[in-house]
């Protein structure tokens, strides 16, 4: 007897919703095994990693704080991913958005204009879009693979940040630390809930989810992008421009990543440093996939991903494990999701083995 995948007559809707849950369950399970292998008590490890971070209201507030850049980036990326536009450089777009928005704040340092903060956010979005426009242009004009070019631009963006904070933008009174001066109160996002760090960026994130939902489900342009992604030939036959899909997909990702970047700089960090993002731009790809590229799904998967980040910090503090353990969990989650997705199109059948 032998197990064999058999194609379903049509993709299973139920499985497409169950698959992310199955993936999360498998991730929890392998987490228990991982803790066991590392010589920690699995129960204790699980508690420290997944429950400790959200055991009080402050922790839950931090969860939403960390989920904000993830949901912003992920909703932008999902627009492109639906159309098979592979922008994997959101991390770089996030950094450039942080630089342009933060640069505006530094330029108008001390300004009390009420337009400063909105201006910074627009500048952040434009910065991210400009960085994303490079691979979009190279793809549509020169046919260059956007996966590789957008990724290369992440490394370049990191070096631009490094150059600015070590050089021209370094705070002269900052004891030679590679960072800019702190942004003024007028250039800082207002706190939503007294006693926590949750700021107005969360509203931007939820707003982005709404806009994303309307764009993908209620607009003709969004419909065209979906068709182009699911059936390239049908899309071309219907006259939907593939180039336009690339541009919209890349720019949406860039704009949202840029807003995420400036929200970090004018939010919890308060200045430009070399450590603006612990890989939010990459983790957001996982958030987008686990959220089934839908805004509602992305809302929940960004919270889960934020929990993985916080769990890593807890594990470092209380279990003496490197915080990079959260990236191991992130990678496992994506693998489990991709694996579970097989059941959307296939079912397992017992067959007799042919001789």
């Amino acid at each position: 007897m032998w197990l064999k995948f058999e194609q379903r007559p049509e993709p299973s809707k139920t499985m497409s919703y169950l698959s992310p849950l199955l993936a999360v369950a498998l991730m929890f399970l392998s987490g228990l095994i991982l803790f066991l292998v590392l010589g920690k008590s699995p129960v204790e490890g699980f508690k420290v990693f997944f429950l400790n971070p959200i055991k009080d209201s402050y922790g839950i507030a931090e969860l939403f704080l960390k989920a904000t850049p993830l949901m912003l980036c992920a909703v932008g990326l999902s627009v492109g991913f639906k159309a098979n536009v592979w922008n994997i450089g959101a991390e770089g777009q996030l950094l450039i958005g942080a630089l342009v928005g933060g640069g505006l704040a530094l330029h108008f340092d001390g300004s009390t204009s009420p337009f400063l903060l909105p201006g910074m956010i627009v500048a952040g979005a434009l910065g991210g879009m400009a960085w994303a426009a490079i691979p979009a242009f190279l793809r549509t004009r020169f046919n260059a693979n956007e996966i590789l070019t957008s990724l290369m631009l992440v490394y370049i963006a990191e070096l631009v940040v490094s150059w600015l904070v070590h050089g021209p933008w370094k705070d002269p009174d900052g004891f030679n630390f590679p960072q800019t001066k702190l942004l003024s109160a007028k250039a800082t996002l207002p706190i939503l809930l007294e006693g926590t760090r949750v700021n107005a960026a969360l509203l931007l994130g939820i707003g982005a989810l709404l806009v994303g939902w309307i764009f993908m489900n209620k607009s003709f342009l969004g419909y065209q992008m979906k068709v182009a992604g699911q059936a390239e030939h049908a899309g071309r036959y219907a006259g939907f421009s593939a180039k336009r899909s690339v541009w919209i997909g890349m720019l949406a990702g860039g704009a949202m990543a840029g807003i995420a970047g400036i929200s970090e700089v004018s939010g919890p960090i308060g200045q430009i440093t070399e450590h603006i993002s612990p890989g939010y731009g990459f983790a957001a790809m996982i958030v987008a996939f686990v959220g089934r590229l839908s805004p509602i799904g992305i809302f929940f998967s960004s919270l889960l991903m934020a929990l993985l980040y916080m769990g890593g910090e807890q594990a470092q503090q209380y279990l003496n494990l490197p915080s990079s353990i959260s990236k191991v969990f992130q990678g496992m989650l994506l693998f489990f999701l991709l694996g579970s997705d097989v059941f959307i199109n296939f079912r397992l059948r017992l067959v007799r083995r042919r001789k």
Partner: protein
């Protein structure tokens, strides 16, 4: 600019190009079978840390290479299960492998961050290594440098002069035809993917055991992605991989050029470090500009999932 300076630049260029050659050739074979594995960066990272750990504990760099290779095979097996057995999207599976591998290597490597390995003596070819200018670059190198040259010949010979290579290319061009005349497409693709993983692991081992020799989180620094771009640059031809790898190797040691040339130029160090990445983008643009070059040379089924019974 002395002769010695040029000689040492040539030497450093060859060293910097070596991991790129090895990793890119592995990926080339994988892609020739029609599989796009974007996981090279993660596979290299895990290979590098595994090799470093084993070389550190055993004191034997050769065992380190084997460990890197083994780790690379295991990593690519994950990709194979996802993209070949479970028929998941190849791009997403490769990204997963890169994210997972980079994270896993940082996690495993933490205790080794403050450890240094003794540098390994190069293998000197008698007499030849004394040739001025080219001697050190070509004949006073680590074993893996010579290995990379042998690998180019072997891969080219395998792909274009053996039956197995012909079958592998057929699988990459038209998996449905290959399947219908009785070749096991998934099996052949697995072999190609595992070979690619083994090479990416060895490339990582070269980085951590011979090149630096130490382990730092993120030390692979995009070389896996650059190797992927090299395959496009080489238009899927093994010999051209070498040319590209040395061009990039030269680019990576640009800092040395500038510092050693004695010319005082006011360029930030970061601009020099960005050169290989900018060069990668440039090269991709130059090659891809001509659509027919890409269409004629890339394996026809590249990146497409093969459904055995569809």
């Amino acid at each position: 600019m002395g002769l010695n300076f040029i000689s040492s630049i040539l030497f450093a260029t060859v060293v910097a190009g070596t991991p790129l050659i090895i990793v890119a050739l592995g990926e080339l074979v994988t892609e020739k079978a029609g599989v796009l594995n974007l996981g090279a960066e993660g596979t290299m990272s895990v290979g590098a840390v595994a090799a470093f750990a084993v070389a550190h504990h055993t004191g034997n760099p050769f065992l380190g290479i084997l460990a890197g290779m083994g780790a690379g095979i295991l990593m690519s097996l994950l990709f194979g299960i996802s993209a070949l057995t479970l028929m998941a999207n190849q791009v997403a599976s490769g990204l997963a492998l890169s994210i997972f591998g980079v994270g896993l290597s940082a996690f495993i490597g933490k205790p080794y961050e403050s450890v240094a390995l003794a540098s390994v003596e190069p293998i000197r070819i008698p007499l030849l290594h004394k040739i001025p200018l080219f001697g050190p670059a070509l004949f006073e190198q680590q074993g893996l440098v010579y290995f990379s040259w042998v690998l180019i010949v072997l891969v080219a010979w395998f792909l274009y002069r053996t039956k197995a290579g012909l079958v592998l290319r057929a699988v990459g061009e038209s998996p449905v035809s290959a399947h219908s005349i009785g070749y096991g497409v998934v099996k052949i693709r697995y072999q190609a993917v595992l070979f690619g993983g083994a090479m990416a692991g060895i490339g990582g081992a070269f980085m951590s055991v011979f090149y630096t020799p130490m382990w730092v989180e993120g030390m692979v620094a995009g070389r896996g992605w650059i190797a992927l771009s090299l395959v496009v640059f080489a238009t899927w031809r093994p010999a051209r991989v070498m040319i590209g790898a040395y061009l990039f190797g030269g680019c990576m040691i640009a800092q040395m050029f500038v510092q050693g040339s004695g010319v005082r130029i006011n360029i930030p160090a970061q601009a020099l470090s960005a050169m290989p990445y900018a060069a990668t983008v440039l090269v991709l643009v130059l090659i891809s500009r001509n659509r027919s070059t890409i269409r004629l040379n890339s394996p026809a089924s590249l990146g497409q999932t093969f459904l055995p019974d569809a």
